[in-house]
Symmetry: C2
Subunit: 437 residues, 2 copies
C-alpha cells in the first residue's frame, strides 16, 4: 500500500517507493494516465461517505482544539465539495500531456540531430496546510505530468488526507499505475517535514502550499530544491494617459473581484496629472464596494474637489479613507483595503513597485505606447500587464490549465506552475557514429 | 569601485550593489553589452603584465603552501592563457542575446495577448576553486545575459582573481554598464561562502564550480537557489545489433579523447551476444591507448577466444585488465580507466544506468530502432545519445555557445548552462481594458 503511517513506513521508505514508481510512470502513455485520473474522479464520488466520515473526525478534533471558523471552513468537506474536487480531476484529463513534447530541435552542422524533450521531474513532494482538496488537486497534476507524488499535509486534516490519498492511490493502481506513485507522509510534525526536505536521492522538488511559517521552516532545513510561491503584493498603476472608464473598471476588478487571493491588487498608484479626474469617481465606486482606502498625502489633495458636505461626514465621497503609512506599501492585505499613492511618472511607479512589490503581478493602465513599453521592460515580475486586471495571473486564465501554485521566484518556474512546469527536459541526440574531434 | 576587499565592503553590500546594477543591466541593449565585452577582452590583453604580476604572487604563495603540480598548473597564467581567456570573451560577443526572446506567445480566447519573454535572472553568484579563468568566463556570460555577477573565488587565486575582476569591472563601467555589475567577494573562507549563500533578498542563483567539498558545504548553508553541476558517471551501452566498427570508434572517443572531463565515458556495457565479436579488437585498441580495464566476470569470458600466449602475459590482448568490483560501477575515474560490464538486454543496461549513473550523458550504440527508443525513453539523464559519443555534452558542441557549467539536476537547467539558462522569463500580457469575470 502506498498510504501507510510513518510508524510502519519511514519518510525515506515512502520516497524510495515513489522514486521506483516514478521511473515506470515516466514512460506510461497519456491514455493510461487519463484512465487513472478518471478512475480517481469516479472513486471519490463513489466513496464520498467514507471521505465524509474521515473529515468528521478532523472537524471534531479541530473544534475541540479551538480552530477558528475560517480554518474549520477550509477543513470542511461535504458532498458538493467532493464533487467539485472530482470535477477538477476530470478537467485535468482534458489538458494536453506535457510529457514527450519537443520544446526545440535542430540538426547541428556535424549532422547530429538534437531534440530537447519534456520529461517528468520524477518525484514531487507537496507540503500543505489545512485544505484537504490539495491532496487530490496536486495528485492529479502529478499523475498527468508523469510524476510520482509524496504528500505531507497538516495533522489537522490527517484523517481527511489519509482517506483521499488512499482512495486515489488505489484507483491509480487499479488503472495500471505503479504502486507507490501516490505516497502520503502521515504525521504533520516538523520532524517529518525536515526528513522529507532532505531526501535528495529520491525527491526532485518540494512545493510548499501554505503560509509564511511553513515556507520559513522549509527554507531552514531543505536541501532538496523548493519552489516558493510567495505572496502577491500587486500594483495597478494608472498613467496620465489612461482611459478613465477602463481604469476604474480594472481597478475595481483587481481589488474587489476576489480580495483574498494573491493576484488581487493591494496598491493603486496614480499619476499626479489625473488625480482630480480619476479619483473622485473611483473612490465613490470603491466606497460602494466597501473598500477601505489608505491614501498618501498627495492623494488627499483630491479633497480640493470635494464639497464641504462630503468633507464634513469624515468619509469623503462615501469611502472610508485613512492616511497611508510606510507599512501600507509593503502590506498584502488580502482584504478589501487598498493603498493609494500618487506618483509623478511611470519611472516613479516602476521604482515604487521595484521597492515594495513581491514580483507577482503588476499592471499599467495607459494609452501611451512608450509608457507601456517602459513598464513592461522595467518591472521585474512574473506577469506584467498593460490595460488588464492583475486577476488574470492564474494557470486557468492564462491558458495553461490547472496550476499547483504560483511562483514568484525566478528559477525553473515563474508565475503559474502548471503541468509543463512540473516537468524537466532531456536532450535526445541521434547520430550515425558521431565522435568528437 | 566594484572590486574591494571584505574588510571595506561586506558580502551583503557587494550583493546589494549588484542588485541595483542588475535592474539597470536588464534593460541595456545588446550593442552596449557587446561593446563592454569587447572592452573587457581588450583590457585583458593590454593589462597582461598586471595580471601576470598578481598571478605570480598567488603562484609563490601556492608553492610555499605546498600545492601539488596539478593545482599549480590550474592556477598558473601566462600571456597565451590570458589571450585565450580574452578570445573566449570575444566568442561570447558573437552569440545571440537571449534577453527579450519570445519563448512562446498567443492570443487567449478573451482577446488578451500573452507573450512569455526571456529576461535576465538578476544577480548570479559564482563560487569557484583555483582556476582564475573562471573569473572572466563567468563574468562574460553574465554580462551577455544581462545579469550582474558576484564572484567568490578561492583564496589560493585571490590576487589573480582580484586583478581580473577589477580589470573587467573597470572596462564594463567604461563601456557604460552600471557600477557594481561585476563584484568580487574577497576572502575565500567558509564565512564569506555562508554569507553569500544566504543573501536571498539580492542574489537569485548560485552556481558552484568546484569539487564535491564545495558543493557539500553549500548544500548545508544555502537558502539562495543553487544549481549543482554534479559529476558525470557516463555509460556507453553497445547493443547486440550495433555496428562493430562504429561502436569501437565511439567507445574509444568517449573514453580516451579527453578522459579527465565530466562527459567522458566511465563504464562500457556490452550486450552478451556480441562480447566475442566486439571485445577482443576493442580491448586491443584500448590497450594501445593505455587504458586500464576493470571488467566483470562475464567480460572475462572473452578469454575463451584468447590464445595461450595472450593469457600467459597477464595482459590479455595487450590491455591491463582487472576484475571489477561493485565500487567500479559507481566511480567517475576521470582517468584512462574503463569499467566493462556485460548485460543481457537493453532493459538490463537501462537498469544498470539508473542505479549507478549520475544523470549526465548516456549513449546506446545500436542499429535496432526499438532498442534506441527504449533507451531514450528509459534513461533519465541530461543527454541521451544514439550512435554518438557522450563527449558532445558541451554547450559549444550542442550549438548553445559557451557554458558556465553542466547541470545534472532537473530544476531550471539540465545539461549545459548557457546564456539562455542564465535567464528566467516573464509573462507580458496586453489587453484593452480586460477584467476578469
Amino acid at each position: 500500500m502506498a498510504v501507510t503511517s510513518t510508524t510502519a513506513t519511514s519518510v525515506a521508505d515512502i520516497c524510495r517507493s515513489a522514486r521506483r514508481a516514478a521511473r515506470e510512470l515516466a514512460q506510461i502513455d497519456t491514455a493510461r494516465k487519463d484512465a487513472a485520473l478518471a478512475g480517481i474522479a469516479r472513486a471519490l464520488i463513489e466513496r464520498t461517505e467514507e471521505i465524509l466520515a474521515a473529515n468528521a473526525l478532523d472537524m471534531e478534533a479541530g473544534r475541540e482544539a479551538g480552530l477558528g471558523d475560517a480554518l474549520l471552513d477550509r477543513l470542511a468537506l461535504d458532498a458538493v465539495r467532493i464533487a467539485q474536487i472530482a470535477g477538477a480531476v476530470q478537467d485535468i484529463v482534458a489538458l494536453p500531456d506535457p510529457v514527450g513534447e519537443t520544446i526545440e530541435g535542430r540538426r547541428l552542422p556535424n549532422g547530429l540531430d538534437i531534440r530537447r524533450v519534456r520529461v517528468p521531474l520524477g518525484v514531487v513532494a507537496v507540503v500543505y496546510e489545512a485544505r484537504p482538496n490539495v491532496t487530490i488537486d496536486a495528485t492529479a497534476l502529478c499523475v498527468k505530468s508523469g510524476n510520482a507524488i509524496v504528500l505531507r499535509g497538516s495533522s489537522t486534516a490527517a484523517h481527511s488526507n489519509a482517506a483521499l490519498a488512499q482512495i486515489a492511490a488505489r484507483a491509480a493502481v487499479a488503472a495500471g499505475l505503479p504502486e507507490g506513485c501516490i505516497g502520503l507522509v502521515a504525521g504533520g510534525g516538523h520532524e517529518e517535514l525536515a526528513q522529507l526536505a532532505r531526501q535528495n536521492d529520491t525527491v526532485d522538488l518540494i512545493i510548499p502550499r501554505g503560509g509564511e511559517g511553513l515556507k520559513a521552516a522549509l527554507r531552514e532545513v531543505a536541501t532538496v530544491p523548493v519552489i516558493y510561491a510567495a505572496s502577491g503584493n500587486c500594483h495597478v498603476y494608472v498613467d496620465a494617459s489612461a482611459d478613465l472608464d477602463r481604469a476604474q473598471a480594472i481597478v475595481l476588478n483587481a481589488k474587489t473581484q476576489r480580495p483574498g487571493v494573491c493576484n488581487a491588487a493591494e496598491t493603486l498608484l496614480v499619476h499626479d496629472d489625473i488625480v482630480p479626474d480619476l479619483l473622485p469617481d473611483l473612490l465613490r465606486a470603491l466606497g460602494e464596494q466597501g473598500v477601505l482606502v489608505r491614501a498618501d498625502k498627495r492623494a488627499w489633495k483630491l479633497a480640493e474637489v470635494m464639497t464641504p458636505e462630503e468633507l464634513a461626514v469624515g468619509e469623503p465621497l462615501g469611502v472610508v479613507m485613512e492616511l497611508a503609512t510606510e507599512e501600507d506599501w509593503a502590506t498584502e492585505y488580502l482584504a478589501p483595503t487598498l493603498a493609494i499613492g500618487v506618483v509623478d511618472s511611470v519611472e516613479d511607479a516602476i521604482e515604487h513597485i521595484s521597492r515594495y512589490g513581491s514580483g507577482h503581478s503588476e499592471a499599467i493602465l495607459t494609452c501611451d505606447t512608450d509608457a507601456a513599453r517602459a513598464f513592461q521592460l522595467g518591472v521585474d515580475a512574473a506577469c506584467v500587464y498593460v490595460n488588464a486586471s492583475t486577476r488574470f495571473t492564474d494557470g486557468g486564465e492564462l491558458g495553461m490549465g490547472a496550476e499547483i501554485g504560483n511562483s514568484t521566484q525566478k528559477l525553473h518556474a515563474r508565475g503559474p506552475i502548471g503541468l509543463r512546469e512540473l516537468c524537466t527536459y532531456k536532450y535526445l541526440v541521434t547520430g550515425d557514429g558521431h565522435v568528437r574531434d
